[in-house]
């Protein structure tokens, strides 16, 4: 025990030196101290992976000179982390996704996307619709036809919560095709991995989950992906557009800062992030995770978020989930 104490004391001392050393640099120019990248989730998930990848690339490529730390603030589908961000200055930025819009519309949060300063949209995934290998459903249109006839005839796996992109994107396609979406039978699993397991075991008739999670099993011939929400054919898998339905739906990830950031602070991130997305390091990150580049600068992001907000409002109403 004694030995442990010595080490702990030493570590604390060291930490104190490091922290005091870094904050002693002048505070005239932004950023003037350590930067915190908030991952509003536990280590190991998608948001965490995004935050750590951003930190890693910005640091390795020397784009941001300040020290950057990833802090995990999990809970409430981003709520806990974003509440934390709201009370911080411009040295904190957070990873986000469409939940920053949807949480409020679903009545699960007081926060809206307008409470924060949009900095960028960085990457997107696409969402896939898949059936077990032995299913007799032929393609996307065949699926929608069956649901149009009897919306309760098939069980649909989704995870981890109703109102997420996977769920809403399917509701939107079905609704546009004329399916009575209020009668659809969703089974809500804990994660995308569980959705895949249920599909492989044939415990559900179809599943809606991200393409990066379904691609490999599709190639191995264990499941069949019928359609994606992308704007083009990916690895031979037709998109909804390819099947004659005019519909795309990105599952994007972006960055935002606390309220009321100054012009200079926003410009700093526009520079840094536009440089980051061009690096080899970032391209590797996209490739490994099965993401597509979807970069938008702060201005474009603002307009995009307004647009998304309108779309989600409509969707959530139609799915019968709004308050």
């Amino acid at each position: 025990m004694k030995i442990k104490f010595k080490w702990m004391a030493l570590a604390m001392l060291l930490a104190t030196f490091i922290i005091s050393g870094c904050s002693s640099s002048g505070d005239a120019e932004y950023p003037s101290k350590n930067i915190e990248i908030i991952a509003p989730a536990t280590p190991g998930g998608g948001w965490d992976a995004t935050a750590r990848a951003i930190q890693n690339v910005l640091d390795k490529e020397g784009i941001v000179e300040q020290n950057m730390n990833v802090v995990n603030k999990p809970g409430g589908g981003g709520e806990v982390g974003w509440q934390y961000l709201k009370g911080k200055d411009a040295h904190d930025i957070s990873v986000n996704s469409s939940l920053v819009i949807a949480n409020n519309l679903l009545g699960q949060s007081e926060l809206t996307y307008e409470d924060f300063t949009p900095l960028a949209i960085l990457a997107t995934e696409w969402i896939s619709i898949a059936v077990p290998e032995k299913s007799d459903i032929e393609d996307g249109i065949d699926l929608l036809d069956r649901l149009k006839e009897d919306p309760a005839s098939l069980t649909i796996a989704v995870g981890p919560a109703l109102g997420n992109n996977d769920h809403l994107s399917f509701v939107r396609v079905a609704e546009e095709y004329g399916v009575d979406v209020s009668k659809l039978r969703f089974l809500v699993y804990e994660s995308g991995g569980d959705v895949l397991t249920a599909l492989l075991g044939g415990h559900v008739d179809l599943a809606t989950f991200s393409l990066s999670e379904s691609l490999e099993q599709n190639e191995a011939g264990n499941i069949r992906v019928l359609a994606t929400t992308a704007d083009e054919t990916i690895d031979g898998i037709p998109s909804w557009q390819d099947q004659g339905i005019d519909f795309t739906f990105p599952h994007w990830r972006g960055l935002m800062g606390p309220p009321d950031m100054t012009e200079e602070e926003i410009a700093y991130w526009d520079n840094a992030l536009s440089e980051m997305v061009e690096t080899e390091g970032w391209k590797n990150v996209l490739e490994n995770n099965g993401w597509d580049n979807y970069y938008m600068n702060s201005k474009e992001t603002k307009a995009f978020l307004d647009e998304q907000n309108e779309m989600y409002k409509e969707l959530i109403d139609k799915a019968g989930l709004g308050n």
Binding site: T42, G44, V71, D194, E216, N288, N289
Partner: protein
């Protein structure tokens, strides 16, 4: 499917490269240390150390992460045995007989026994992995909502039936646990239940906070109350390190036969070490001729769950590596790390990069042996903890409990929850209510409910659920047996008398 011995041999030679051996030892040691701390289980240990692997060779990174995971599994039972505070859910069963052994002055033997039992579990599971990975992965897929529901129900009933002669207290404990799991967002409907507007509660109460509260904090509070009572003090004599012939004899078969049980449960996504060790403990108690000694320091009561949860840890890698599906919290974290490193676990991994898989499996073999050596060497150091004066030891445990809790959710709200459960734990000890049913209910309660709800969408009636598949029928039958058989046998024994 035959075993690809060429890749196996290649994997072995990669795993014993000097660099990789170093990673095995470092990872095992780090994992053991982190695993011993209350609340810091394998998942946290791996997650915290992921950034270390950036820039490493993917195979070496996998070896390091595997070693940390494994080390934490070994370490978890250390604190259960010595100070009655499990590091993680899967180490709870080690408190049942491990801590009583310590109280009897057999701490050294308990630690050795747990280590050796873990080795047995790990070895048998790895043999299973090498020969049966693919077919077993297919078997695991047969578990749908109905099958999971009845498996979980069986686990609960098995643990409640442990509280022999006092089923009522067991049920009270279980219901309290189930009540706790209703806190948080309900996945199937998206409704918030009992969150009182606190966003942190939307994810429910973390079962690890409950464990740390009831065990670590509750234990400290209880001991502080009894500090002056000398009869309660642990004997200074910590006993021999080496297990006796009798202890070996009594625990050999239980450890051996519970390994496959743990292995199979580990393969099921979502089940894992906590469930495996509980089922193994309760079945051994039912089977044992000396079942009265369970809970009072029976060596087989420690060996069975320890071999079982280690086997489950290996089993959990099967769905991860063969299908890209993480079967436990820890493997989910490892999956994330592997993707960052550019490896895609899944059906193609065995075909495209078999050497990675086999290097990893071999590193587990080597890691197990290394960990046994390290853990036995550490025993001398660890039992010094028992000689630490209480007025120093208990504040340290409390401090560690708070640190462990903070790392789970990075929220101070958890401190209040921790203290609440500390007090609950204290009263349960005073009233002699068993804590295991509560803890298990908190760990699996949510899954139990969600699977039931999903099953009721898929099947029209409860009867339809029960007859969903042979697996479901099997679990229904053994659930009923586990509750009524002990009662019946009791009756019969009384009539005879």
């Amino acid at each position: 499917m035959g075993v690809d011995w060429g890749s196996f041999a290649e994997g072995f030679s990669t795993a014993i490269q000097f660099e990789n051996l170093i990673f095995i030892v470092i990872g095992g040691l780090l994992g053991t240390i982190v695993g011993m701390l209350p609340g810091l289980g394998p998942a946290t240990a791996v997650a915290v150390l992921i950034p270390v692997t950036f820039g490493m060779e993917p195979t070496s990174a996998l070896i390091l992460l595997g070693a940390i995971y494994y080390g934490a599994m070994y370490g978890g039972s250390r604190s259960s045995i010595l100070i009655n505070t499990p590091g993680d859910g899967s180490a709870i069963a080690a408190t049942f007989d491990g801590y009583p052994m310590t109280r009897k002055g057999q701490a050294g033997q308990a630690l050795t026994l747990a280590t050796l039992a873990s080795l047995v579990g790990g070895f048998i599971a790895m043999i299973g992995f090498v020969f049966l990975a693919q077919p077993l992965a297919q078997f695991a897929l047969k578990f749908g909502p109905a099958e999971y529901f009845f498996l979980l129900l069986f686990t609960l009933s098995a643990v409640v039936s442990l509280s022999k002669g006092n089923m009522l207290k067991g049920f009270i404990s279980m219901f309290l646990g189930l009540l706790i799991t209703t806190i948080g967002i309900d996945s199937q409907s998206g409704v918030y239940r009992f969150t009182f507007g606190v966003p942190h509660l939307s994810e429910g109460v973390d079962f690890l906070v409950v464990i740390i509260g009831i065990y670590a904090v509750g234990e400290v509070l209880y001991n502080i109350l009894l500090l002056k009572d000398d009869s309660y003090r642990i004997k200074e004599d910590v006993g021999n390190k080496w297990i006796t012939k009798e202890q070996f004899k009594r625990s050999f078969w239980p450890a051996l036969r519970q390994s496959p049980v743990g292995f199979l449960i580990g393969i099921l996504p979502g089940a894992g070490g906590s469930i495996a060790s509980m089922i193994s403990y309760s079945t051994e108690q039912q089977l044992s001729k000396k079942s009265d000694e369970f809970g009072k320091g029976a060596p087989e009561g420690l060996a069975a769950p320890e071999s079982s949860n280690n086997a489950a840890a290996v089993g959990a890698f099967i769905p991860l590596l063969t299908m890209g599906i993480p079967g436990s919290g820890t493997t989910a974290v490892i999956l994330g790390a592997l993707i960052m490193l550019g490896l895609q676990p899944g059906p193609m991994l065995f075909q495209n990069q078999p050497e990675v898989v086999w290097t990893f499996v071999n590193s587990l073999f080597i890691g197990n042996i290394a960990l046994v050596i390290m853990n036995i060497l550490l025993i001398g150091f660890l039992i010094k903890i028992l000689k630490t004066p209480a007025n120093i030891l208990y504040p340290i445990i409390l401090l560690l409990a708070f640190i462990g809790t903070y790392t789970l959710g990075y929220s101070t709200i958890d401190f209040f929850i921790l203290m609440i459960f500390g007090v609950i734990g204290l009263f349960m000890k005073i009233l002699n209510i068993p804590s295991a049913p509560l803890i298990l209910a908190v760990i699996i309660g949510n899954q139990l409910e969600q699977n039931f709800r999903m099953a009721s969408v898929s099947y029209d009636s409860v009867f339809g659920m029960m007859t969903a598949s042979p697996i479901a029928i099997f679990f229904v039958i053994i659930t009923v047996l586990s509750v009524f058989l002990p009662m019946l046998l009791n009756r019969l024994a009384r009539i005879k008398r």
